[in-house]
């Protein structure tokens, strides 16, 4: 089992008890004044040189947000957030936008280097022979700093750029699809995002095109006291295919950082979108101090017949995760998938899951969720599967497994199953257990340390989901799982 050996190797390499991405970068940044008001919304919009319609859209969201309450139903606890004590806009100083990589602040490039994300195309090309290309959009605090492989993608007709750029270059597409999956009235955090979103990625894959490479965005929160509100919009036109991966890190800071992103996916007829996330925001220190509040709204709309949207997520970071990547199965014969690994350690709190809303005929969905709770953490799966009156022959299979490591943590499963159609067939199963002593003993007697053994067994536990990740991220993810569980045994 090479994958397992690799894991063990990787776990050995790790320097203990350190969040590897916890460094911060000294980069001059421009910030809007603290707090939120119509003026701040106008400031952000002006800073980005946005058209009138978008400013109006933001203002409408802002006014709506003022009337809304923070949701309290999730199984997470945290001190009340003072939304007036946050910066809603921070950008590296040279925000005119680099024309090429040479113009990018070298300090910034070094940051991404440390994160192991190649922003220089030649570096990627100079890599191992036959290694797949990955186009990267790097978002630093609130602003997209660079997008690679743009030209090659353009040849295929694929648009991959920051959303600010797309507003300027493809306003008709942005106007048509922005807010069409997650409306500005959707929920507290999504509405806040609509008012103040700063940047994010935009992807459009035209009819019949199979995107020639993996697309990827790396998010990085750097500035202090700054909320990050990126907005991602991906559209796969008829018969198109795209695979997209996002990765997230943040420096170690004692205060909590707010991250409230919105991701909208639209799949038209026969299109397929595969969206993978490796979320490794700073989880806070061993005492639960600091860490990112990750309050994210992600939703995919299978708008066309036979379209398919697949979410894969590996959630290891953040102090608090509140996140339910969902699929609206509107097109007949459309399919939604959700594969999740959520690991919580220390004082992390995870409340995550999915919604599969079956509206069309012959729609199907599949949910595989693996939750691992260690330390003092709480890990909740919350999911909804519903079949509406007209969703004839809807099918769902759900499997939620939880693993507890140690007796101070909690693992919870809260599925909602709503069948309004008799021909809908739903199957849900869930189990909660601990790592079996027998397995552990077997591994130890073969010479593994307890931590290695746990990492190995956990990697086995999450295998079904790992296999859904793009090949090139699997090894990295296995390593991450090992790191996340450090200090959970003994």
């Amino acid at each position: 089992m090479p994958a397992v050996e690799q894991t063990v190797e990787r776990v050995k390499e790790i320097d203990v008890d350190k969040y590897k991405y916890g460094f911060s970068t000294d980069i001059e940044s421009v910030r809007a004044p603290k707090g939120l008001s119509e003026d701040i919304v106008r400031f952000i919009s002006a800073k980005k040189g946005e058209p009138e319609w978008l400013l109006d859209w933001r203002l409408e969201a802002y006014r709506r947000w003022r009337t809304m309450q923070e949701p309290t139903w999730a199984k997470v606890h945290y001190p009340k957030i003072d939304f007036e004590d946050l910066y809603y806009y921070a950008a590296p100083k040279s925000t005119e936008g680099p024309k090429s990589l040479d113009e990018v602040d070298p300090e910034l490039l070094r940051t991404y280097e440390k994160l192991g994300i190649p922003l220089k195309e030649q570096e990627v090309l100079a890599g191992v022979q036959g290694a797949p290309k990955v186009a990267v959009d790097a978002v630093f605090d609130s602003v997209s700093v660079v997008t690679t492989f743009k030209e090659e993608l353009a040849k295929a007709g694929v648009i991959f750029c920051s959303i600010s750029e797309a507003v300027k270059t493809h306003p008709e597409l942005v106007k048509k699809y922005l807010g069409s999956v997650v409306p500005i009235t959707d929920n507290f955090y999504a509405t806040l995002n609509s008012a103040v979103f700063s940047d994010g990625s935009f992807v459009y894959v035209p009819e019949g095109v199979r995107c020639p490479m993996e697309l990827s965005t790396y998010f990085r929160i750097n500035a202090e006291n700054t909320g990050q509100f990126e907005r991602t919009l991906i559209i796969a036109d008829k018969g198109a295919y795209v695979s997209y991966l996002e990765g997230c890190t943040a420096p170690m800071r004692d205060e909590n950082q707010l991250h409230a992103a919105v991701v909208e996916l639209v799949a038209l007829e026969d299109a397929e979108i595969k969206y993978s996330t490796v979320q490794n925001w700073y989880p806070g220190d061993a005492e639960g101090k600091g860490g990112v509040y990750n309050f994210v709204t992600k939703r995919g709309d299978c708008r066309g017949d036979r379209s398919k949207i697949s979410w894969t997520q590996v959630e290891t970071g953040s102090a608090i995760t509140w996140k339910y990547p969902s699929c609206i199965l509107r097109g007949h014969g459309s399919r939604g998938e959700f594969y999740s690994i959520a690991i919580s350690n220390g004082y992390q709190q995870v409340d995550s899951g999915t919604k599969m809303i079956h509206l069309g005929r012959d729609t199907s969905s599949r949910i595989i969720s693996k939750g691992i709770a260690a330390g003092f953490s709480d890990n909740t799966y919350r999911g909804l599967v519903s079949a509406h009156r007209k969703a004839t022959n809807a099918r769902n299979f759900t499997c939620c497994d939880s693993l507890l490591i140690g007796d101070r943590c909690g693992a919870h499963t809260v599925p909602y199953i709503e069948a309004k159609n008799s021909s809908a067939t739903f199957e849900h199963e869930a189990t909660t257990s601990k790592i079996s002593d027998d397995q552990l003993f077997y591994c130890l007697s073969r010479g593994l340390s307890e931590e290695e053994a746990v990492a190995l067994i956990v990697n086995g536990f999450v295998r079904d989901v790992l296999q859904q990740l793009p090949m090139e991220f699997m090894a990295e993810t296995q390593k991450l799982i090992g790191i996340s569980l450090e200090g959970s045994v003994g």
């Binding site: 943590c409 909690g410 909602y416 199953i417 709503e418 008799s422 067939t425 849900h428």
Partner: protein
Amino acid sequence: MDLSVQQFRSEAEQALLDLYERSVDALPGDASVADLRQSAIRTYAGLGLPHRRIEAWKYTDLRAAIAEIPPLLAESDAPVDGTAFEAAFGKAFAQLPAYRVVLVAGAVRTELSDVQGLRDAGVEFGALAQMLESPPEWLMASLDAASASGDDVLIALNTALMTGGVALRLPEGLTLQKPVHLIHLDGADTPGSVYTRNVLVAGEGASATVLESFGTLGRAGVQRNAVTTVSLAAKSAIHHIKLQREALETIHLNAWVANVGADARYDAFQVSMGAALARNQVSVRFAGKDAATDISGATLARGKQHCDTTLVVEHDVPACESRELFKLVLDDESRGVFQGKIVVARDAQKTDGKQMSQALLLSETAEFDSKPELEIYADDVVCGHGATSGQIDEDLLFYLRARGLPEAQARALLIQAFVGEAFEALDDEAIGDAFAAVSAEWLGSPAE
């Protein structure tokens, strides 16, 4: 009295407060009971009727469902006899050998009840209304425990307004050879409300089967709120069984609350087939190690019936076992709800908890909502739940028809087999046969 905590109040919510005000002086009980009532009505006043924004009532909006509050049904001497039982529960049920206790408007109809038989068998038995006037310590303890459950409005209203029911204590080591059958039969020519509380206490090593059946007399609709608390001392065993076959105008609210001691066993079984709206709550709390519970049953609904079964099992101590199996058969525009929660506390190691709910939808317009929940804080546990929803398997149907069974008969056989799995929890043959008979009758009598 300050009852202004809740800002908005629907007419029915206000009417409940008025009902309390009007009735309070006539309600049975000494000063300590009156205090309990007072504090319970305050709890209600603060919370109002539960509605869909209250998580535990997400699929059953009581505030929207209850428009009027009819007056408390008075004790009556309406003739109740064998034919009334048969009409209410079917022959097999009416004839079950048991210590029968008939309750009308919460009052024990002694002429129809085998109270003497129970007492001869060694059971401490009393009508609740009388016992509340000077409640013995064990009864007060049970009432206090139920009140301590806090924000359960259904129970709070019951505490505030209970007019009758029975209190029944099995002394240490007593094994009852025949089941106790508590028959709740209510109704009159005009709508009425009935609030009953039954208190069951099993001493160490005692065991019994307690059957509760709910049926309708007369024509007009009843709003029923019935609570039974069960307290099981170490090594005791109670098999608690319910048949709800009330008239279609009924609103049936029922909560069973069990506290289970070490090495004790509490098994609950419920079949619901009547009422316009039914809410069945069973909550079991393990208070001693190595105890076990099995909660199973079936919902049979058609027309516009709404039936909600909500179970909570709290594993507060190590090494207990819980099993849940519910089957729902939903026809026409009926709606079945199943919520089941297993909570495993921090130190409840070696917990073994399993739960399954399965719905069979017979019509395009039936609806099934399910929320099986696991909340687990201990690591050395084996817990799981499953939920399925679907229609009759066409391949099975074809197989049966290819063997000559007409379609209707083949369907009925498959539905009965589906429900029958839950009936396996009944080890008493006579009771099992009685349930098989009432469910077969349901299957054979489609809605008009």
